[in-house]
Symmetry: C2
Subunit: 416 residues, 2 copies
C-alpha cells in the first residue's frame, strides 16, 4: 500500500482523550479511532493487524478440529433467563418491535447449547467443537483501557461437546496447547502465563492466559520455578503453586488474553442437552468453552511492545512486513523505489511504501517508528550508489545495506 | 471436509417455522439455523458461502481503490440526532451504564462522516473511498423473508469522498461497473437489473441492483430493450424508460441486492465535513455511498437457484467445488475415495467428502442434491473397475465417467 493513498494519517500529538497507552499509541499512529468509551473504529492499518491475529487463531483452531460458524449478536432474552444470567450487569438489553426482549451477546453459551441440541442425539454425534470470530458486547461501567477493555470487542470463542468428562479433559489439554502456540505466534509467548482461576461450581480450576503487563487489570501470584500463576480471586483457597507447592509466589500485574473453562453440564442442564449412550440411556453432554480476546491482544501488544518513538510490532501481526521509504525527490530514487515496491508486492511481501514527495526524510522516519513495522527500508541516492537499500529493524539502532537483488529473498523467510 | 465430522446435519423435513423458501432450503440443508425472527446462525456450510460472497466483493472493492476498515456496531445516539435520523423506526436503541444513549447502526454515514473529518483538511486529501464488511441491524416490524430481510444481517458498505460533483460522478460509474462484476461473479448476473430509484433531495436518481425473483419485496418496471428498470417508488414521476423513452414497461417482482447513492453534501453538511481548495477556501466534501447485502445475496441465490431436490449453488459461491461420495462399504472403494479426497484437497480443490459408512447410497445422493454443490463425484466398485469416478453436475440429469488421474485437472479450472 502506498502512503500517499492511505486516507488515514498519523498525528504529531497523542490525542487528548486517550484513556490508556495502547489507545494513545494506536490512535496517534492511525490504527484506530475512538467512537465512544470502549468502542473503536478500526482503520486500514488496524484492521490488517486484527486480521492477522484472527488468521493465526483460526489456523490453530482448525488444527485441533474446530469447525467455524457465526452466531448472532442479537438473542432473545428468554435464553438468558433459562440460565439465570439475564440479570448480569454487563448485559446490554434492548426492546425490538412487538416488545421483543433482546440481549447483545457478551458470550454465546446461551446460543450454542440449544443450537447443538438440534444436531446431537446419539453418542455417535460426539465429540465435536465449533468456534466463531464475532463481535461481543459488554455494558462496562468503566471502559478506560483502550482495546484492553471494550464495550464492543472482537473475540474468538470455541465450544466443545463430549460424552464424558474424560473426553472433555483430553480436549481441554489440546486447546491449552493450541493457546500456547497462538500466544507464541502473536508475539506474546514470553509474556503469557498459564494462570489458575476459579472453576465455578463444576470444576476445581479454570485457566486463564495472563500476559504480564504493568497496566493490566489483574493481579496474579507467579511461581517463577513453574512459570505458572494463581489469579488473586482464588489466592485465599490456593495459597501455594499447584504444581510444585512453592509458597514464595510473586505478585504481578497482568492482562487476561484468553481463558479456558470446563463448563461440564452447567449449560447442558438448563437446555437439557443430552445424548443417548450405547445402551440407549440419556446423559447430559459435557461441555467446555475457550475464549481469546482478539482486539484485546492487539491492545496488549501495543501496550507492551513500544518505546518512546512508537509501537514495535511483532512481525507475525505487523500490518506490513516492510516500511519502504524513498527520500530525496530524485527521479532515479523514485523510479527505483517504485520498482522495488512493485517487485516485492508481486512476490507477496507486504510493503507499506512511503512514496510522498512533500514530506521530509526526518518526518518519514519518525512516522515509520510511530507505526512500528518491523523492517524499515530506505532508498536514497547514497544507497543506490551501492545498488542497495538501507535496512533498519525497528528494534535495532543500526542499519545495514542490502543489495537490491537480495531484497526479496531477505523477506521471503518463512513467516512462522 | 468429511461429512462424518461435520457437526451439523441435513433434515428430512423442512422446518415448520420457515418463513420463506430460502430459509426453508438453507435450514433443511444445514447452512443456517434460526435464532429468532430475522436473526440466523451461520453453520459451517453457510459460513463458507458467506465468506465466498465476501471475498468476491472485497476483491472488486479493492480493485477500484477501496480501503478496508471496520466501523463499530454501537454508536452514540447524538450522532444520529445531528442528521435528524435518531427517530428512524428501524433503529434499535439501547441505554448503557451512565445513561449513555446508544444506537445499533443500520448504516454508517453517521460514523464515517465525522471519522473522515479527522483526516480531511485539504483538496490534497481527496478523493478516497473506504469500505467495510460489517453486521448491521434493523428493527424490522416483519422479518419474514429468511436471509432476504434480517434484523441482523451482513453488509458491505463503501463510502467515497470527493472535492466536486464531477469527481463523485466518475467514481459512481466505477462502482456501478464493479457492482455488475460482483453480481456476475456471485451468479446473479442475468437476474440483476439496474433500477432507477429515488435520489432523495440531493440527486435526481439513485440506483438499485434488483435481482428478479418472484418472492422479492420490490416491484420494478422493466424495459426489456435496455435491460434497466424503474422502482415502483418513483414510477409516478418517471413513467418511461430513462434511456430509450419506452412507455411499455413490464412489472416484475425483484429483491434489492445492492444500491448506490450520490449523497452529495447531505452528510458533510451536518458534520461540517469540509476541505480547503487550491485557493484556501472551505468547501463541503461531496460523498457517495454504496451498499451490498451479503447475507441477502445468499438468501436470494437460494431463493432463485433451486429445484424440487434442493439448492443449486453457482460454483463461485458454493460451499465446496465437489461433493465426493463413496458408496458400498468396500475396502478398496473407501481407500480410493480417501486417497482422492486427500489428493484433491492437497491441490486446493474444496471437497465435501461423504465418507459415512452407515448411510445408504440413496440417502447420500438425496443429501447431495439438497446441499447443492455443483459437482457430485461418486466412487463405487463399478466406477473403480474403469479406474474412474462418476461425475454428475448438479444442474444436469446425466453422469459421465472421469478417469481418476484426470480428476484434479477437471477441477483446477480457473474459478472465475
Amino acid at each position: 500500500m502506498k502512503l500517499s493513498q492511505l486516507f488515514t494519517k498519523t498525528q504529531k500529538q497523542a490525542p487528548a482523550d486517550s484513556d490508556s497507552l495502547n489507545a494513545k499509541l494506536l490512535t496517534q499512529a492511525g490504527f484506530i479511532a475512538k467512537q465512544m468509551a470502549g468502542v473503536y473504529n478500526f482503520l486500514p492499518l488496524g484492521l490488517r493487524v486484527l486480521n492477522k491475529i484472527q488468521n493465526i487463531i483460526r489456523e490453530e483452531m482448525q488444527a485441533i478440529g474446530g469447525q467455524e460458524i457465526l452466531l448472532p449478536v442479537l438473542t432473545q432474552e428468554d435464553s438468558w433467563q433459562k440460565t439465570n444470567r439475564a440479570n448480569l450487569d454487563i448485559l446490554f438489553h434492548l426492546t425490538g418491535r412487538g416488545e421483543a426482549k433482546i440481549v447483545l451477546n457478551p458470550t454465546h453459551e446461551e446460543v450454542i447449547t440449544p443450537l447443538a441440541k438440534q444436531f446431537i442425539s446419539s453418542y455417535r454425534d460426539l465429540p465435536f467443537s465449533a468456534f466463531q470470530i464475532q463481535t461481543k458486547f459488554r455494558n462496562e461501567a468503566r471502559a478506560k483501557s483502550g482495546l484492553m477493555r471494550g464495550r464492543e470487542f472482537l473475540m474468538k470463542d470455541l465450544y466443545s461437546f463430549h460424552t464424558n468428562e474424560n473426553d472433555l479433559n483430553g480436549f481441554y489439554e489440546k486447546v491449552k496447547a493450541a493457546y500456547f502456540k497462538i500466544f507464541q505466534r502473536v508475539g506474546l509467548g514470553e509474556q503469557t502465563i498459564l494462570t489458575f482461576a476459579s472453576g465455578g461450581s463444576f470444576s476445581k480450576f479454570s485457566h486463564e492466559f495472563q500476559a504480564l503487563c504493568e497496566t493490566g487489570e489483574d493481579t496474579i501470584y507467579f511461581c517463577p520455578k513453574c512459570n505458572i500463576a494463581i489469579n488473586e480471586e482464588i489466592i485465599k483457597e490456593q495459597t501455594t503453586c499447584p504444581e510444585c507447592g512453592n509458597k514464595n509466589l510473586e505478585t504481578r500485574k497482568a492482562a487476561e488474553v484468553g481463558n479456558i473453562f470446563k463448563l461440564r453440564t452447567k449449560f447442558s442442564e438448563p437446555f437439557n442437552l443430552t445424548y443417548k449412550n450405547e445402551k440407549g440411556e440419556n446423559n447430559l453432554v459435557e461441555m467446555g468453552c475457550y475464549g481469546i480476546g482478539i482486539s484485546r491482544i492487539m491492545g496488549v501488544v501495543a501496550e507492551i511492545f513500544n518505546d518512546q518513538k512508537g509501537i514495535v510490532w511483532p512481525l507475525s501481526i505487523a500490518p506490513f512486513q516492510a516500511h519502504l521509504i524513498s527520500i530525496e525527490n530524485d527521479k532515479k530514487v523514485i523510479a527505483t523505489a517504485n520498482k522495488i515496491y512493485d517487485q516485492l508486492t508481486k512476490q507477496g511481501i507486504e510493503v507499506l511504501f512511503d512514496d510522498r514527495t512533500e514530506v521530509s526524510a526526518g518526518e518519514k522516519f519518525a512516522e515509520a517508528d510511530l507505526i512500528g513495522i518491523p523492517n524499515r527500508l530506505v532508498i536514497s541516492q547514497k544507497t543506490l550508489a551501492k545498488n542497495s537499500a538501507e535496512l533498519k529493524p525497528r528494534t535495532s539502532p543500526t542499519t545495514s545495506l542490502v543489495k537490491l537483488t537480495q531484497l526479496a529473498k531477505r523477506f521471503l523467510l518463512p513467516k512462522r
